[in-house]
Subunit: 349 residues, 2 copies
Amino acid sequence: MSTIYDVADRAGVSAKTVSRVLNGDGPVGEKTRARVNQAIRELGYVPSQAARMMRSNKSGLIGLITGAISRNAEPTEPTGLPDLHIVQGIQAHMAAQGMTLMIADTGGAQDRVKPLIQTFQEHRVEGLIYVADYHREVDLSDALASCPVHLVNCYDATGRPCVLPDDRGGQHALTKRLVAHGHRRIAYVTLDRDMDATRLRSQGYRDALAQAGIGFDPALLNEGHKQEAPDANACLARAIDHLLELSTPPTVICCGNDEMALRLYGHLRRRGMRVPEEISIAGYDNYRAIAETLFPPLTTVELPYRVMGERVAARLLAQIASGTPPVDDLCELTASPVVWRDSVTAIQT
Amino acid sequence: MSTIYDVADRAGVSAKTVSRVLNGDGPVGEKTRARVNQAIRELGYVPSQAARMMRSNKSGLIGLITGAISRNAEPTEPTGLPDLHIVQGIQAHMAAQGMTLMIADTGGAQDRVKPLIQTFQEHRVEGLIYVADYHREVDLSDALASCPVHLVNCYDATGRPCVLPDDRGGQHALTKRLVAHGHRRIAYVTLDRDMDATRLRSQGYRDALAQAGIGFDPALLNEGHKQEAPDANACLARAIDHLLELSTPPTVICCGNDEMALRLYGHLRRRGMRVPEEISIAGYDNYRAIAETLFPPLTTVELPYRVMGERVAARLLAQIASGTPPVDDLCELTASPVVWRDSVTAIQT
DNA sequence: CGATGACATGACATCGGTGTCATAGGCGAG
DNA sequence: CTCGCCTATGACACCGATGTCATGTCATCG
């Protein structure tokens, strides 16, 4: 690989002049510039970031830590939409801003985070983003970096800046929309009870019911998936049995995610029930490979992973540029719009 | 960020001695080593890769170009399994070998490949991997890099080393397995006719039939998806109508991918047909979010994306280490095993 | 005509590590 | 004793860019 000196020699100028041509600082004569550019082309010269970085102390690199890449390989838990979409959003924003992303994967092992950060530091990344696989609290206490660290899809006790999905608002909007379509008996089959998403969405569900003047019926709120349960399907089946045996069964069932809704289609089909004519179904995540492909297409709530990715990226770059973390908005909620499709029908009231 | 000289000063030694402690070359006295290590800890010193790279000319970086990250954001075409899984495999292998991966995304625009390669060159990557979203030919003629370039899930006219899925073998194995379960009328609803995967799998399908002594019936081979068709579902519906109206309808329908199979479940359900009692279904890809979650779970062929990722990574590193590209095996096919689930039943013969 | 400044260019130091070579002390062999 | 060798350490140059400062050449202006 040729250097700036090779180019300088070939063009018959000094290295500094080549540098000026490359960076456009300082004046360069027209003919000189042409000779230099020709030499660059002939040699296939590409400047070394390493050398640049040494002087400028600016790497143009952003580090990204995720379990997304490896974790999806073993989809043991139905956690919904691949968090990879968050990475998409980050990547898109960074590329647009001329930053280069270094992506590292923990392979699911928390103890790999530390060495990964070490590697990033060696490359002098200007900022770090930690992506969680689902909405939850994380502990990055051992991960002390000398650059800004932002979190997406998670938060920590030390109050690092973070971007989260608005789970409460999402389920609230969905429930409100269902009520507007005449539904009064609205069941909600949740993910694991101790997940943040479940807690927040249940709250949104109950708030919407209360605002509509509908009493909350505990019998309609079921846990459809248990972390420790060996057979997720069995758990879901029990929840459905329970709901359908009620004296006043629900007219619509909301699921904790779209995969669960997909399985629900299968269970209802086995029972010979038609969707949405006999019962409506709603999901969560807007996992398009499922929601758009199912018949009938699934009404669901968008988990705005891509947008969240773009938001952290923007916030991190803003902090790098300004030197100060976001002040009034340390933890940003991202809107989760309802995506209305054909799996929910209106109820005559 | 502190430097090696700061550490040296604090430990009361020369920079070179610190370097020796860090790299373990050359002898260092026991007490000196302890003092140096302490100074490193106290200062939180992290060596600069940039400075290292300048002397050693080894970056420890591998560049990865993909459309995977951005493309999936707009799932307009049912191309099947996210190619991201290839990236998973690459990442896993690279991490295990101590290489750092720089991932760049084309955003779907081919003209971004060139500047991305430029960026990678500036960072002096030691190798480059290009990941395609589905099995196809690519043209990287303008992308001349001064380091080894390997392709995954694609090949090019210039004969670059590549790793491909064994589409022919996969469909062949599936068909053979169906025959072994008594099926004689085996339908195959393909992806777009002009895709490499379709051509190869059709060949595998026909080969397996021929080896079983079953005549090939063109009426059983349908194109279930057309690139230019606005409504993929309508196209699939026509294909099914056509198959079920045959005087001797098929006992099993193979689909071009799992999403298509998912839609097929819906169509058959609308017709009131039970899977697999009245008709069997097989997919392709082993897209687990779908195949494992459907009811009944879907028999399919594994698209070995993760393994393919690991293979390219290994082959690229081998070339970097040896200096010579893989000779006898420039284009490696990766086995695509059948994953047997409940959507296919045995036929009494 | 000489002073003034804009323009074009180069010499040189510098960033933070590592390779090369030199040096000083200790120890066993001849 | 002293020569040779090993251990432990440091001085210094170098990798490839860029920032700083100096220098040389014109054109312009008073």
